[in-house]
């Protein structure tokens, strides 16, 4: 319960913090950190306009996508505090909830039959297909390492390993993988650019070109929530579960905040990849995860 609300608060502050960081680094003042809340509220108050060539699939897409991510929220624990519900293999459920949300968006993009949106859907599906192994290899590693198969137990017991060096290695590399994963999953630089106005280079943004008003508001909320989901996973790795609650809550917020700032910094100084380089870049994340996986198997099975 606590986890849910903490993650929710972070979600609302994520986009603003990133924008503010980028603005300051480019010498501008930038909008307020909580500007996103007003923007989302303004959009949610509006009605939606639907194209004549679209069907019900398009109309439900934003809501279904939002519902999927919101459900995924319920699975995220908070540093030892339990999540709403937790079961063995819940991380598979979480990733495919996000997958379902993406599927409905892709179908909606094809539904409006615009030349641009089909192109964007094509790219998004390709990238996510390549990205998926990274997450499961990482979770597999953590399962083997801790001996548990759900989020709550994994995060609670990850620091209980007596082999402190391997704990540090696992956590550092996991954070790296999750960070890169988060950037791609949320369509940020270097694979995509959320600020571009050029349809031909967009990946995620072009898929939602036809969404307007309330639906667009939901899409914006969804992407903010996704940040918080993956940001929370990273924070869960960093914060040991056995700390007292009055340490954990501020630590959690501080780490989330730092994560948002580091995304802003990363985006300020890094240009975007050439589109053809993206698959290579994404596969390299899976490769890192695979190496970690093999190393942990070797350590665990005492082969060496």
């Amino acid at each position: 319960m606590l986890a849910f609300f903490l993650v929710l608060i972070c979600a609302f502050l994520y986009p603003g913090t990133i924008d503010k960081t980028k603005a300051i680094l480019s010498g501008r003042k930038g909008p307020k950190i909580y500007q996103f809340i007003f923007d989302a509220w303004r959009l949610l108050k509006k009605g939606s306009v639907y194209s004549n060539s679209s069907s019900f699939v398009f109309q439900i897409s934003a809501s279904v996508n939002f519902a999927c991510v919101l459900t995924a929220f319920l699975l995220i624990p908070f540093a030892g505090e339990p999540s709403f519900f937790s079961f063995d293999g819940d991380f598979v459920f979480m990733l495919y909830l996000l997958g379902l949300g993406r599927f409905i968006l892709v179908v909606a993009a094809l539904d409006v039959s615009s030349g641009f949106e089909g192109m964007g859907a094509n790219r998004e599906v390709l990238y996510n297909a390549l990205l998926e192994p990274a997450f499961f290899l990482l979770m597999g590693t953590l399962c083997i390492f801790t001996g548990h198969t759900n989020f709550h137990d994994i995060f609670l017991s990850i620091y209980e390993n007596e082999h402190i060096a391997s704990v540090i290695v696992v956590i550092t590399i996991s954070i790296l993988i999750l960070f890169m994963f988060l950037l791609i999953e949320n369509s940020r630089i270097p694979t995509d650019d959320p600020n571009t106005h050029l349809e031909l280079t967009m990946v995620h943004e072009v898929m939602v070109l036809d969404h307007s008003g309330f639906d667009l508001g939901l899409i914006k909320l969804t992407s903010a929530f996704k940040f918080a989901v993956f940001g929370s996973l990273i924070c869960n790795l960093v914060i040991p579960g056995h700390l007292a609650l009055y340490y954990k809550i501020p630590l959690f917020m501080v780490f989330q905040f730092m994560l948002a700032i580091s995304i802003g910094v990363f985006e300020s100084f890094k240009p975007r990849n050439k589109m053809a380089r993206n698959p290579q870049y994404i596969i390299s994340i899976s490769a890192i995860a695979a190496v970690l996986y093999i190393v942990i198997i070797i350590i665990k099975s005492n082969v060496v």
């Binding site: 030349g115 270097p190 571009t196 031909l200 985006e267 100084f269 240009p271 050439k274």
Partner: protein
């Protein structure tokens, strides 16, 4: 080649002196000259006379710094049908399309005889609206078409791009322009006053107001036989070079945006503002509208302005070199821009590319060097030429031109004599244009050469005025560089050329 009439930039010639030859000879002479890369077409126009339709072709000789003119006449009543020069040199396609559209001349063998800008007096049957444009089509299930524009996201001008794609790969891009057609050339004849025409010239392409206004002013001055004082010529160089710096920096900043490189975008964007603000301090307009006028200027360049300019240049150079070095050496930027949108020297030569577009692929086309005008005789300009022909080469040409311009500005302010006065713009009643003459005025705007040609009648009134913006040919460079490229690379390619829609559409 005794058939040609030789002249220079801004040197009027009598129409009767231009040799009139049969079309076969006309064709032969032009195609013979163009075999050498030292020659290129400045302008190719047709205009109606009492005897019939007269074709005039002006070819620039870059080595001898001269212009050769030759003409051909289709007598009134004869069929308007000739064979096309396009199969030999692609550069003719837009000229021939223009003549075809205006006078209904048929060019046999020109397979691209489509309307170019949908003028109101169009003589092509069955294509009344711009939406009737006949695009290339491929009948297959394998490929797909993507149409972009004419209304775009962001703040660019209208133009339609039609891509034929195989997945992400572009097989063919067709650029359809004409949405901005305002009839500038017709207006040039309707509006008789100098000030009206000067204002029109500034509107041809709003971002090269100095280049076009200067070309126009020089055309008028040469026809009127005005001698321009040295100081005024230097002032014009200053204005043109500041415009060049401003626009090149703007392009580099936009390219950074295209690559989502925020630091470059912000740092370069900040530098553009003081550049064009200097023009505002000088003449009250950030794009130097109202600064260049025939015969003189209302805004003389004073000592005070010189000091301001020099301190601004110092500041600019210091800040610009820091960010430019950072950007040009950043591995991600190099990866993003190198070997994308590559054109060969042959390609840019065939399409008659000018300015930055020619220089980035190894073709030395710079009229500041080949046909010096205004104060450029003193500068001994040496064009920046790169031969890789990709986006990175376009960036490098811009980068080194900025540094060059800073150098030239310092030089000019140094040699200028501030004691001398400059005259006010000439008034309509004070000048009389030479009768039955033609003049070709060439300037080097930041995009490339701008050619204005004026022809006067028996009374000394301008009876025909032709404008050639550098974009007219350079648009084809964009279309060619997109071939076999990923469609997502289109925006940065487009930005790397930054061509003018309204300059093309007139």
């Amino acid at each position: 080649m005794e058939k040609l009439l030789e002249t220079k930039n801004n040197l009027p010639v009598r129409i009767s002196d231009i040799p009139v030859v049969p079309y076969s000879k006309f064709f032969e002479v032009i195609t013979f000259l163009l075999r050498s890369q030292d020659f290129h077409i400045l302008t190719y126009l047709a205009y109606p006379t009492s005897e019939g339709l007269k074709f005039i072709c002006a070819i620039a000789d870059d080595q001898n710094k001269s212009i050769s003119i030759i003409s051909h006449l289709i007598p009134a009543g004869s069929p308007l049908k000739v064979y096309s020069m396009m199969p030999k040199y692609d550069v003719f396609h837009s000229f021939e399309r223009e003549i075809h559209e205006k006078y209904g001349v048929e060019f046999a063998d020109n397979h691209f005889l489509k309307p170019i800008r949908f003028s109101h007096d169009m003589k092509i049957q069955g294509m009344d609206k711009i939406t009737d444009y006949p695009f290339y089509k491929i009948e297959t299930d394998e490929l797909h078409e993507i149409g972009v524009g004419p209304i775009h996201a962001g703040i660019i001008e209208p133009g339609h791009f039609r891509f034929l794609c195989n997945g992400e790969k572009v097989l063919h891009l067709e650029v359809q322009l004409g949405w901005q057609h305002r009839g500038i050339e017709t207006l040039f004849l309707e509006k008789k006053k100098l000030i009206q025409r000067a204002t029109l010239a500034e509107q041809i392409a709003g971002d090269s107001a100095v280049g076009h206004a200067l070309a126009y002013s020089q055309a008028i001055e040469s026809l009127a036989g005005l001698k321009i004082r040295e100081k005024l010529n230097y002032e014009r160089v200053i204005a043109l070079e500041i415009e060049r710096i401003g626009m090149h920096i703007f392009d580099l900043s936009n390219l950074c945006t295209g690559a989502a490189y925020q630091l470059g975008n912000a740092a370069l964007g900040v530098l553009r503002t003081p550049t064009i603000n200097f023009l505002q301090t000088w003449c009250g307009n950030r794009f130097a509208k109202g600064l260049i006028r025939p015969g003189g200027t209302n805004y003389p360049f004073t000592r005070d302005l010189q000091e301001k300019l020099l301190s601004y240049l110092d500041d600019l150079e210091e800040r610009y070199t820091v960010i430019a070095d950072k950007m040009l050496n950043l591995s991600d930027i190099i990866l993003r821009f190198q070997q994308i949108g590559t054109l060969t020297r042959k390609q840019v030569y065939m399409i008659g590319a000018v300015g930055t577009t020619a220089k980035m692929a190894g073709l030395k086309r710079d009229t500041r060097w080949s046909h010096p005008f205004a104060g450029y005789h003193e500068i001994h300009h040496d064009p920046v030429v790169f031969d890789t022909g990709d986006i990175y080469a376009r960036i490098q040409v811009r980068h080194y031109e900025i540094l060059q311009s800073i150098k030239y500005l310092r030089r000019i302010t140094e040699i200028m004599n501030y004691q001398n006065s400059v005259p006010a713009p000439i008034k309509d009643e004070e000048i009389r244009l030479a009768k039955n003459c033609m003049t070709i005025s060439v300037t080097e705007g930041w995009r490339g050469e701008i050619v204005h040609s004026a022809i006067t009648d028996d009374e000394g009134n301008i009876s025909y005025y032709k404008i050639k913006d550098p974009s007219q040919h350079n648009w084809w460079a964009l279309a060619l560089s997109l071939r076999n490229l990923e469609i997502s690379d289109f925006p940065i390619n487009n930005k790397s050329y930054n061509l003018s829609y309204c300059g093309h559409d007139l």
